[in-house]
Symmetry: C3
Subunit: 352 residues, 3 copies
């Protein structure tokens, strides 16, 4: 497949500077040895030199770049343009529709048209798959689940009973949706942990994407809800009764404890921990490895970091201070001695 | 299914205040729009107002609550009562017993009565399942494993060979029990990592529960052991030769490194890291994201937090101090200047 | 199986002190009740007493140990010797070769000799397995993958399309290789997250080992690469376009973000977070729970810890300082008062 720079510039509504008739046959990364015939992208003007050194034929650049010896496509949002061009070269491929003879379908299963069910998939009783759903090999869908149009379940995914999945959802391999929330109570009489039945469910709205080996627990009572467009990376844990707002992005290995709410358009970096009953308002950014303590509320638009999570500026000031702390300890000792030598009376100090 | 408040109060040995004949047909959460006919619970007196604003018909409350316009069930342990009432409305459902024709059974497999083996399950040679074991779809049980009565293995669980699982154990989907411990040694001659064979096994005693996508490694030599009633949340890692005591609770994404021992009735919050050869004595609470360093011992009943893990009080004092650190740095500079201006001789300081 | 101490000493090129004709029939751990007839090992002289108290018949010891009432095998590297002796008692067992009738093979699959394909395994079109590959039960290998000689894929592993796996690789159960990198871009016009197609692949070179429930994402464009001998523990996340050098060891629950490079012979402890576009040079050791910030470079051979990751010595000094911080705050207040009482003028301080 080959496309001209003209076609690509038009696709992304960019301004073309250079040879419009150049044929592009692949998309490359700046870090790679991008071959002639390839298109690359840069996010900042400072990367232009590196791009020019490559053998790539065309570079998607931000508008600030005005000239180059390379053919350019100038756009307001290079990363978005790059995504669109990648889609043009790599349109979504759908497996052939059909039901593999080694899959197992329960009673009362309802299938929309053109669904694809892979080998060793299992659909429990009354499962409903809408049109063009892809069920990968080894996927287990328990009873009474519903899966919306065009959704893709990759191999070895498990959906527990009564899970509701929207349209154009993607769930990567090994992810588990709807397992029991982690609820136990110590019986004071026996000193044993008693399991609290987990009788709620999970709702994944349209265009949610879950990475690999993600876990999303069902509500204890009520629902765990990921709203439209929530994107979740690998190995993330989402506990019972969590609610996540539209287009929020959660990076790998982050965990969100029970009954917390993350509003829309938040960004949680990797390995973040959000304790239970937290509210993170819209547009908040939580830095990597940060910890938000139980019951806290983070105000809309804040950028926080550290454990306990604080505004980023404050967090950075503390880290800077920490690096000067050993010197500071010495300095205070010096001052104390100076005072003593000057004969200034010092009140008793707790410090040894 | 509907039950009277009288029946429910009797079930939990609570004191009924209000209309004993009210019919309850479901259990709700306080956070939800609890409908008429539903029962909710509160853990603290302060939540009573919110409970009274709901449309719920009955509230399970702690004894401190003495009156309300709602019908109450007063108990010493509301959460425990709530668990019991949930069980009354949602008794454990067992899949029909039987062996699915698309499962695979090895040689010498022994099956107790009323076992349920789902589609695409695989039982290796000499596997023994006791009465009423449930083996979900896609579960792989390697050779020589034994699984006790009434245990439930959810879909896509893998048990490596020689794993011993007790009675009434629950293992959620995607969990792996008995994979190799992480043991390598760098050969100085070749500068290559040499694998140390992992020839031990895993023992899960009665009433253990593992969440989804948990990993429990077999012992290098000897066993990794989870004792009766240990409860483990999603995505937890338990390394080779770890021993965990009765009724200890481990929250999501926590990791316990090789040869560490956690005694009984501990609580490890989420994303905790316990290094190797640690001993955590009985009843210890480890706060979220804490890190317990290699070889440490934490005394019975302590509450610790932070990395390195310290007593909670100390940890909080340090966090408070840290927030004052930037101001402190400035203050010391001020003091130094004052001394200099007062003509007091200052010894040489390392600080610039 | 039984071996004489003479045979074992010869195997590990150790010096035998004691009864060369003793029969050893098993390997034990020091922590266990090592029975007579067993061999144990110690890494340090200080452990000798404990070893002597055991009933073990033979102890592998470092050269510093010169005498004991036990029969000894003295070696330069006891752990390496222990690994070799374990291999002697527990040689790699391979399942019988053959293709299970309940597996599914796509078009154009190429199989080397003596491959073993378990029940419910699925091989996509054009998958190539070289000689003696073991494909466990429930393993899904998508189209166009290649797997090298003697590689073992444990149950329920998933390889996405075009994954290339080398020789003598081990992938433990539930691991996912080649799922989509986590790439989204917010479209400013719609305020919706747009997925960036992930069109690269994953390369696992010879002798890589992945633990259980690991996730390795494919490159966005280009490859994610784990070089020869990389060892990865359970629940580790490796993002798109990461490159990891030879014999690097990565402990459980560590995460490495997009486009980072870890060079050869590094050690990353558990729960480490490496942000995107990081370079960790050869031989670096990163302590548990450390966080390496985006874009950083860690110089060859450094030992770092903490978040942000700093040289270990510095990190420890800061932790020590932190524990003295509450006292320091008090001390400075005392000094200030002393100056005021001595009538020394203090410039205005920001501190309240």
């Amino acid at each position: 497949m080959s496309k001209t720079v003209r076609e690509l510039a038009k696709l992304v509504e960019g301004e073309l500077c250079g040879d419009a008739s150049l044929a592009i046959d692949r998309v490359s990364a700046l870090e790679e040895h991008a071959p002639p015939g390839s298109l690359i992208w840069i996010s900042e003007v400072s990367m232009l030199k590196e791009a020019e050194r490559s053998a790539a034929s065309c570079v998607v650049v931000p508008c600030e770049v005005t000239a180059s010896r390379k053919t350019l496509i100038r756009v307001a949002h290079p990363k978005l343009a790059f995504a669109k061009i990648l889609w043009a070269f790599h349109p979504l491929e759908r497996p052939p529709s059909g039901i593999h003879p080694l899959s197992v379908l329960g009673k009362g299963v309802q299938l929309g048209r053109d669904v694809s069910i892979g080998p060793h998939a299992v659909l429990g009783d009354r499962v409903r798959l809408h049109a063009r759903v892809t069920v990968g090999a080894g996927v287990i869908i328990e009873a009474d689940c519903e899966v919306g149009e065009d959704t893709i379940l990759y191999p070895n995914v498990t959906l527990y009973h009564h899970t509701r999945v929207g349209r154009r959802v993607i769930i990567h391999a090994g992810s588990i949706v709807g397992s029991d929330g982690f609820g136990f109570v110590l019986d004071p009489a026996t000193q044993r942990q008693v399991k609290i039945p987990q009788v709620g469910d999970v709702v994944l709205e349209d265009e949610v994407e879950l990475g690999s080996n993600v876990t999303v627990d069902r509500g204890t009572v009520g629902s765990t809800i990921l709203r439209r467009g929530v994107k979740v990376d690998n190995l993330v844990q989402i506990a019972h009764n969590v609610i996540i707002g539209e287009d929020t992005v959660i990076s790998a290995q982050t965990g969100i404890a029970g009954s917390s709410t993350i509003e829309h358009h938040c960004i949680l970096a990797g390995q973040v921990g959000v304790a239970d009953h937290v509210t993170i308002e819209a547009g908040v950014v939580v830095g990597a490895q940060a910890g938000v303590l139980s019951g806290k509320r983070i105000k809309a638009g804040e950028v926080v970091w550290g454990t306990p999570a604080r505004p980023l500026v404050e967090s950075k000031r503390q880290i800077a201070g920490l690096s000067r702390l050993p010197d500071l300890l010495e300095e205070v000792t010096v001052l104390r001695k100076a005072l003593q030598q000057a004969g200034i009376a010092l009140p008793l100090s707790q410090r040894k």
